[in-house]
Symmetry: C2
Subunit: 208 residues, 2 copies
């Protein structure tokens, strides 16, 4: 069985639920609990864990602390994960300040923008000129980048990231990036997501 | 052949590319051009269009203006699409100001937040108390909602939206919403997307 993106996103949800259960004082958890939290079947929870060699006790379930440690280990959460953002517009600025990332050990190291008026070297997250992005990524050995620049600039920014050592990109620009074998690109197309919702809502209205 | 979400997201990309080609003065366009822009095979472009009864001239390609009109019609772009946002935090505020939406005829009508200090009735997009969301959605016949509240509040906000007439939800909270048959929920799990990237980047490093 191979690991796919959906499996990892489910692990991320289980981790989220586990943290809440731990805060409530739970010592043990059952696949049914995690299934409810992640909105999937409990057999899938067990399948996901078994891929990574995690087995529970049929009667006793999983030990919460042990499970959190194992899931964190799989997700690489035992190291702080540093990312850079290109583009300090609305989306880039929101992600820079997004509490959800920090809570999960994801640290935005720096943001880069081509507009000099946005430069802010002393903020909690520094905003630096885009020209310095290449050296910064190399010096800090960053491997993950987020692209929040306008679509006309996205492909140029992507090329700089890849040539500096970035291996994974979360792309918010609504364009397709020509990628290479060893670079992973995930696209979050916000306009596309909304347009798809509108289409299906309208389609179901017409069917009635 | 049925229409799925990926097909609609591709249509959204074609539309984006068509607008740029039109601006450059193009009168005709070929499936190969759109395939490049969307990063898919040209046979898939023709397949997508044929689902909606759009056929090109094999030699002459598609007429840009005609194609834009047809795609807009499919995507319901000939009407302005109004949406509401719950949550005026970092992500909600960014989406409220996101130029990408407005450019595509997506209008954020109002944002709702439980924090009274965020209320701003006179802004370009009004920020209103969450208590008024239900009436607002009903009165303005809004059908699409975006959830950007913390995960503990997400399910409550979702229930209010559904009971007010919302039929499609874009959910940024990293929790699964218990949905019903005629409500469409799309999840954008930002932490999950990043964690998935990190996992696969780390996994490919280990393989080397």
């Amino acid at each position: 069985m191979t690991v796919n993106k959906n499996c990892i996103i489910r692990l991320s949800k289980y981790k989220n639920a586990l943290a809440k259960l731990k805060a409530l004082g739970f010592v043990k958890v059952f696949s049914d609990n995690l299934a409810d939290a992640a909105g999937v079947a409990s057999s899938l929870v067990r399948k996901d864990f078994s891929i990574f060699g995690i087995t529970g006790n049929k009667k006793g379930g999983y030990l919460v602390d042990e499970l959190i440690e194992k899931v964190n280990d799989i997700l690489g959460k035992n190291d702080i994960q540093k990312v850079v953002i290109a583009g300090a517009g609305n989306i880039g600025s929101a992600l820079m300040k997004y509490a959800g990332f920090e809570k999960e050990g994801l640290k935005v190291s720096a943001v880069f923008d081509s507009d000099p008026s946005k430069t802010d070297k002393n903020g909690p997250v520094p905003i630096l000129p885009i020209d310095s992005m290449k050296d910064y990524i190399k010096q800090n050995k960053i491997r993950i980048g987020i692209i929040c620049v306008p679509d006309v600039s996205a492909s140029g920014v992507f090329d700089i990231m890849v040539s500096s050592g970035i291996k994974g990109v979360l792309n918010f620009a609504p364009v397709s990036l020509k990628t290479q074998e060893d670079i992973i690109v995930e696209n979050v197309n916000l306009v596309g997501e909304l347009e798809s919702l509108i289409y299906f809502v309208n389609a179901s209205k017409k069917m009635k």
